[in-house]
């Protein structure tokens, strides 16, 4: 007979495993089903290993500037690419073991294999092969009062750029391969694209990045994009915006990409192409159609608490649509099970999910961009504080970038914040919490930010927005 659970979670990315932990804490007998390694994209081939790579790149960038800090390098510093990759893998594997530990600690059954719903309460599991080539799992069936689908997403492919895993690669190969190309073409300048461009550049690869929109990181505030573009060009990364890839041809082992820029056609020679043009939901082979669970553009349709169009079946995280971020996945999941457990919880507020990009200068933002706020009809006050005026930034030797804040004039609502610069990704939490607590600009100005810090830039920008600039 099939084992019965209160809650079955399919997939153990940050969405799935945190949802399972919360379910177990809420006294549900819980199982997770995972066909690959525990931790999903995020821990194995996403957030964590890329941040390890980026740190190596950052240390390398700093090593090129030792004399700026009064230090003398007698000799050379060079990246050992294979070792850099190895360090990243070790970091990922350590975190992956952590998830196993958390499952045990929270009495969650881990069932390896591919899960597929046969009815709203039944999941059929079959053996699968992990990214390490390991065969895992066996044929089995489990039943549950609630099934939560957290199967995530994978790299999207576009017609002019079929991924072969060798010449044209996705983030996975870009992160796992132990040899670096001499010349890399990155297609797509979202977070993943610009992060890999930064990484490979500092590893010594000649990098070109192509973006169809007019700016790098096109979802960010335009002023932010411009700082990044200036910085990348200065570093020596070849930046092509408003540029559409038409196709890639191979000639004697060399690749030639055809790129349309306005009315012109340009050609870029390279050894590898990284396709970083977004993701597509993992909705296949889950039994969705048979059960009548609706999807839209590869994502499962859900209500505000994650319920699909079939009662008792839920979906959370990347497979349930954007923003495709780990912290969105986990909060969506915990909110979903708390709701199932009958807690009086609010659905997550999609306007207060920060987005981060971890190249240098880092980018972090939450809420409306200036353009969006205006379009939404707000009468706004905007303040910007450049890190060039920050004492801490000067001491660190990282004066690129700024913090920009946007407030509603009428009520003082903190509509948005956009930071580009050193440690931006750590600074944005203040704004997320402040917005959660429904701050106005006054409380930000009156909160005694420690000196000297980069976090002061948020306060200083607010001073500017309220026409009382202090250190600028």
């Amino acid at each position: 007979m099939a084992t019965h659970y209160d809650c079955i979670v399919i997939g153990t990315g940050p969405g799935g495993y945190e949802t399972a932990i919360r379910a177990s804490q809420l006294d549900m007998k819980t199982a997770v089903i995972e066909k690959n390694k525990l931790g999903g994209v995020c821990l194995n081939v996403g957030c964590i290993p890329t941040k390890a790579l980026l740190k190596s790149a950052e240390v390398m960038a700093q090593a090129e500037h030792l004399s700026d800090y009064g230090l003398e390098l007698d000799g050379t510093v060079t990246p050992n690419f294979a070792k850099v990759i190895e360090r990243s893998r070790n970091t990922a594997n350590k975190m992956n073991k952590g998830v196993q530990y958390l499952m045990n600690k929270n009495n969650i059954d881990v069932i390896q294999g591919h899960g597929r719903l046969t009815d709203p309460n039944t999941v059929e599991v079959s053996p699968s092969v992990t990214m390490d080539g390991e065969e895992v799992g066996e044929e089995t069936t489990v039943t549950g009062d609630t099934v939560i689908i957290a199967t995530g997403a994978r790299a999207r492919e576009i017609p002019p750029l079929p991924i072969d895993g060798e010449k044209v690669i996705s983030y996975k190969e870009a992160m796992l391969q132990t040899e670096q190309p001499d010349r890399l073409l990155v297609v797509g300048a979202g977070a993943i694209g610009v992060e890999f461009a930064y990484f490979y550049h500092h590893m010594g690869t000649e990098v070109t990045i192509v973006e169809v929109e007019d700016h790098l990181v096109p979802v960010e505030d335009e002023e932010v994009s411009r700082v990044l573009e200036r910085s990348y060009k200065k570093k020596g990364i070849n930046v092509m915006t408003g540029a559409m890839l038409q196709g890639v041809e191979e000639h004697n082992g060399e690749l030639r990409a055809e790129i349309q820029v306005g009315d012109d056609t340009e050609y870029v020679e390279c050894d590898q192409v990284l396709s970083a043009v977004g993701v597509t939901g993992n909705i296949e082979d889950l039994g969705l159609e048979e059960l009548g669970i609706e999807t839209e553009n590869s994502y499962i349709t859900i209500d505000e608490y994650g319920e699909t169009t079939v009662d008792g079946v839920y979906a959370i995280g990347d497979v349930a649509g954007g923003p495709w971020l780990a912290h969105k996945a986990s909060h969506e999941g915990t909110t979903c099970v708390e709701h199932i457990a009958g807690h009086d919880v609010q659905p997550i507020n999609f306007d207060n999910i920060p987005g981060c990009t971890y190249c240098q200068p880092q980018i972090a933002s939450v809420g409306y961009t200036e353009a969006e706020a205006k379009e939404a009809g707000y009468d706004i006050r905007v303040g910007k504080f450049p890190f060039s005026a920050s004492g801490k930034a000067a001491a660190l030797g990282h004066t690129e970038g700024f913090a920009k804040v946007i407030f509603d004039k009428k009520y003082g609502e903190f509509l948005g914040c956009h930071i580009v610069g050193n440690e931006a990704t750590e600074l944005i939490a203040e704004v997320v919490v402040a917005r959660k607590l429904e701050t106005t600009g006054h409380e930000i100005m009156e909160a005694i930010h420690p000196h000297p810090t980069l976090s002061e830039a948020i306060m200083e920008a607010t001073h500017v927005a309220y026409d009382q600039p202090m250190n600028i």
């Binding site: 009428k410 009520y411 003082g412 609502e413 429904e438 006054h442 409380e443 309220y466």
Partner: protein
């Protein structure tokens, strides 16, 4: 510096003189509409009044027109 920037709205008190816990945004919206925060039930942790509580209270006031002081 044509216009003077608005000052923060101080924490109001309820009928019994107790301080009402309310978010700054809730306070400002209530002030703008002349709504007494002490009369609003808060749904935040510890009964904290948040903007949506004020907005529901305003809707209710609208539904019962004789209550509106404006």
């Amino acid at each position: 510096l044509a216009e003077r920037t608005p000052e923060p709205v101080p924490a109001p008190t309820d009928a019994s003189g107790e301080r009402v816990k309310a978010s700054p945004l809730a306070r400002r919206v209530a002030q703008e509409h002349g709504l007494d925060l002490g009369s609003v039930a808060g749904t935040g942790p510890n009964g904290r009044v948040v903007r949506s509580d004020v907005e529901s209270a305003l809707e209710q006031r609208e539904a019962t027109p004789d209550a509106a002081p404006e």
